[in-house]
Amino acid sequence: MPQSQQSKRSIGWLGLHRGHKARPLEWVTEKFIFLVSLSVIVTVFLIFVFVLREALPIFLGTANSSAVRPVIPPDQLDELSPERLASYLGLSKKEVAETDRETLQLLMELKVEAAAEAPDDKDAKVNTTGWRYILFPYQWTGYDKARFIWQPISQIPKYNIIPLLVGSLKVTLVSLLFAVPLALGAAVYVSQLAPPKWKEVIKPAIELLSGIPSVVLGFFALVVMASFLQWLFGYESRLNAFVAGAALGLAIIPVVFSIAEDALTSVPQSYIQAALALGSTRWQAAWKIVLPAALPGVFAAVVLGFGRAVGETMIVLMASGNASIMSWDVFDSTRTITATIAAELAEAVFGGHHYGILFMIGTLLFVVTFVSNLAGGFVMQHLKGRLEGKK
């Protein structure tokens, strides 16, 4: 093994020992290679930091989306500090410093006019980016009861993310119900039951499925599957969580298959041979010996498939219908977290509250997939260590 070549004869500061004087280049290169390899850690860290950075105003509660805010009379311009003025006018400090006094005065008068024209119901004063409005139902003017509503493009933006969470969950569950039995069945068949010659054909073919870009699966769901499934089940809206879930299932079948197959194959052959020698059929050996031994790996496959399904974007964007309705019915048009980000970020005002909210749900998505990956990876590593130890 490469590791064994590194003797531990003298380890000084930063691995500096006698040899480095003779070969400074070796030492420098080794440190350089080490630094470059740290870039992976830095990248994961940067992703988290910079997605979170744009969402910070929402997490800290400093964003304000209310249509009506307290107005400062224009003649008080000189009394305001530059910071206060900048936040009041929605400009950066540099822009305030560069703008002349008359323009600032004009901008403040415009604020007064805007406040006079703003709708004067109770909703207009509400800062809809508060957690109370993001997570819990609220009775908006004109509605008969408290509801979960995601309506970012309206006079009073409503940012309740529960319909999106439900949408994501619905689509993901449909896709798992569709993909997991098929993928696990195929994994058991390919790793335990199929003739070896078929194995060499089937495995690359299923891996080919993972080579299909998700936009192509989305296109296929939109153009072919949607009409076919509607004809088959006769539901009302053509694009819905069911179609999106079925198409998403196609995307996660290769993921679940290859991890489960890997786990099943890593069960030592001696287990199977022992079972066969005792007179069991191949299926009995697979079901009673191999599957229980590899169960954590099968579980990891499902968890990693879940992570992939929650994060998939193009398929759900194209096939789910994109209506943010609060409903648990899988045959209703649905909007997921990922599709919302993809569809709305281009329209959101840069740095505004809508922008912040979209990054906030992006952060949630990152955390959810991070945790499921960590859990899946941990289980898989543990299992392999255990099985290899037993060999």
Binding site: P2, Q5, V36, S37, V44, L184, Y189, L345, F359
Partner: protein
Amino acid sequence: MTKRFQRHKFDYVSFFCTGLTGAATFLILAILAVILCNVVFHGWSSFSWRFLTGGTERDMFSVENAGILPMIVGTAVRVILMTIFVVPIGVITAIYLTEYAHSTSFFTRIIRGAVNNLAGVPSIVFGLFGLGFFISFVGQNIDAALHISEPLWGKPALIWASLTLAVMTLPVVIIATEESLKAIPSGLREASLALGATKLETILKIVLPQALPGILTGTILAVGRAAGEVAPILFTGAAYYMAHLPKSLTDQFMDMGYHVFILSTQSPNIEQTRPILYATVLALLLLTFALNIVAVLVRTRMRANMRALQ
């Protein structure tokens, strides 16, 4: 007496369950076949040399003049740029993990964990990262430092899309390179070291040439993955329509995957534009499949070579 040693009673449960798992396998293969046949069958009629090399000067939704050259060029350029960024970093990281690091050290475990997690981050989050980091942090600071008043770097651009994709495909390159480095028999390294070569010389002259097919496989797989991805480039560089090909790193570009998305969701007449939609999908599928198949072939040959060495 002899009867007891005759063959077992036929086990119907085993037969049925084996059939069931086999059926699941063949259902997956059948769906794959249906997708491919559907695309080839409908896409073939509009798929021509003129379609592949035509521009979109007049109207990108017109069936007669349709051409996808700008999208092919855009996709190719962003993927090539991505390769330039991702391959050196990915290969060096893999070299560290297999040649230098102790497999149980703290940093190694963290790096491996980071690689695995990076592989599972949703593609749309990479898009958000590209927008939040490359465009609104790096790009806008470049603009500020160079005193450019019109946003030049601080807006969606070819380079930011490529960098975002490079971050996304980093784990693919690392994992494939690591696999090929591990497959090299340690006897080769030991022989080189025994002849007086230093560690660096051994890596550069013995290990890397042997690992080249593996690095190539990783690169091709990364390219295949990146070529079809749309979500990371939605906000970082892909353009709905551009009259000219991208001329510099700060230009936006048209993209094949994004074009499929536009044609299937925003076409003014979906029935009429269906032929060009299918033909574009066919072109995209041919590209990604060709890359994947080449990767598999290179890998198979590499494994055979390694077996011969051992």
